[in-house]
């Protein structure tokens, strides 16, 4: 139980997927302009991360490893994730229209989000058990949500600020992201001490 909490909290806070592992930066910069889209995107990312981990982990352990095809990992994972996202979108549209309206438009963008493929591969390279892998995926998704939540707040102020012309737009956004990343350093060492 303790290990699961450690995995969860280090994925959310210490090894935050966006701010410390740099996964999903494209969408981090793209959708953080306002809080509503940021939360919609995060919800979709959490969903797809959990679903893709639930699918890719068994494929690697029960299919690729016994057949000595581990080198096909990248190819298989990205195709599985692409197909999965397509399927989730179709099922959701048919059975859960309200949820589809909230998350649907973000789903096609997630196929090539590196955080999703990243979490699938990391679960294998860290040789997590299935439960560990699912918790890691949940933590990764929640961490993505937390960083987007914080950053969209910062960004709404930065966009209104009066900055030198050369820094306008993306440069100042990245520097703001740098400061948000600094704040996450406060969590270093937190997890080990919290559960020891």
């Amino acid at each position: 139980m303790k290990e699961l909490f450690i995995i969860l909290f280090s994925a959310i806070l210490v090894d935050n997927f966006v701010l410390s592992k740099f996964l999903g930066i494209c969408s981090f910069l793209g959708v953080s302009k306002n809080l509503k889209t940021a939360m919609g995107m995060s919800g979709a990312v959490i969903l797809v991360m959990l679903a893709s981990t639930a699918l890719t982990w068994p494929i690697q352990i029960f299919l690729l490893n016994p057949m000595h095809l581990a080198f096909l990992q990248t190819l298989v994972f990205i195709l599985v994730i692409a197909a999965l996202v397509q399927m989730i979108e179709m099922v959701m549209k048919k059975t859960m229209p309200p949820l589809y309206n909230a998350l649907g438009i973000y789903l096609p963008l997630i196929t090539t989000n590196c955080a999703v493929l990243g979490v699938a591969i990391l679960n294998i390279t860290k040789s997590y058990s299935f439960l560990d892998a699912m918790i890691n995926a949940l933590g990764g998704g929640l961490g993505y949500m937390l960083s987007l939540f914080l950053f969209s707040g910062v960004r709404s102020k930065v966009d209104k600020a009066d900055v030198p012309a050369a820094l306008k737009g993306l440069p100042i956004t990245l520097i703001a992201a740098s400061l948000v990343a600094v704040s996450f350093f406060g969590f270093k060492g937190l997890v080990e001490n919290l559960f020891s």
């Binding site: 701010l19 410390s20 592992k21 740099f22 996964l23 999903g24 930066i25 494209c26 969408s27 910069l29 793209g30 959708v31 302009k33 306002n34 509503k36 889209t37 995107m41 080198f71 096909l72 990992q73 990248t74 190819l75 990205i78 195709l79 692409a82 438009i105 973000y106 096609p108 963008l109 196929t111 090539t112 989000n113 590196c114 493929l117 990243g118 591969i121 990391l122 390279t125 050369a166 820094l167 737009g169 993306l170 440069p171 100042i172 956004t173 990245l174 520097i175 992201a177 740098s178 400061l179 990343a181 600094v182 350093f185």
Partner: protein, 255 residues
């Protein structure tokens, strides 16, 4: 008297053809990739490896080579197959081709450079979802002839490598006091290396400044020549990005 009022933006058909030819010339395509449409600093693609592995210049250089290989290989194949791939399934088809080349790189690296495999880690398989490769496949290789696509791949790959090595050098020199692993004079004695630069926040910071300076250089070039050199789109614009980022879903819903 009317001559003075002639619209300056009008270009005669002949000139336009020359202009178009110039844009299609191989050197122009190569230079566009390296400077005027630099994928990392102007199109803002492939940010993940750019921030993650630029802790040292050497890792950045090797990552650049890997990206050049994947970029050239996949653009070559996609350009050859561009008429055979049905339009509806083109994105999965492109991803499959790219993933094939990434797998080749992964196997080569783990066979010949095991140490590198540890430092670059998951960022090698993540080249698959690197926006540069997919975006260029979609925007260029699926429409243009083979040779032009290969040159475009080479230019974009080189441009990305230049950006990687530049950021890697800045972060390694300032953060660690070394350059390609060599110890630099003054650092450690007179100048204390600043840890900030090799930590994740330093990555965002240096990247922001690099984008700022590259934009200034390109603007200066454009001012000097008096006309836009490239049709480089607005930074972070959806069209450059293919399918990867959640660019402004709220506004345009460009999926």
């Amino acid at each position: 008297m009317n001559d003075n009022a002639v619209d300056k933006t009008y270009v005669a058909p002949d000139e336009r053809r020359v202009e178009q030819k110039k844009k299609d010339s191989l050197l122009h395509i190569l230079m566009a990739g390296i400077l005027f449409e630099n994928p990392a600093f102007l199109l803002v693609l492939g940010t993940c490896p750019l921030l993650a592995i630029t802790i040292s210049a050497k890792d950045a250089l090797f990552m650049g080579f890997a990206v050049i290989f994947v970029q050239v290989g996949s653009e070559l194949f996609i350009s050859i197959l561009r008429k055979a791939i049905p339009d509806k399934v083109r994105i999965p088809a492109f991803i499959t081709v790219i993933a094939g080349f990434v797998t080749i790189v992964q196997m080569l690296v783990s066979a010949y450079f095991p140490a590198l495999n540890d430092t670059l880690g998951i960022y090698i398989p993540l080249i698959v979802v690197n926006c540069i490769v997919l975006a260029r496949a979609e925007a260029f290789a699926s429409k243009k002839p083979v040779l032009a696509s290969v040159v475009d791949g080479l230019g974009m790959g080189t441009g990305f490598t230049v950006a990687l090595v530049l950021m890697g050098s800045i972060r390694e020199i300032l953060g660690n006091g070394t350059f390609f692993g060599m110890h630099l004079p003054l650092f450690g004695t007179v100048i204390e290396p600043m840890m900030f630069f090799i930590l994740p926040p330093g990555g965002f910071f240096v990247y922001g400044l690099c984008i700022c300076f590259t934009q200034m250089v390109v603007r200066w070039f454009q001012k000097k020549s008096g006309k836009p050199i490239s049709n480089a789109p607005v930074v972070g614009h959806c069209d450059t990005c293919g399918t990867c980022a959640g660019c402004d879903v709220s506004e345009g819903n460009k999926v």
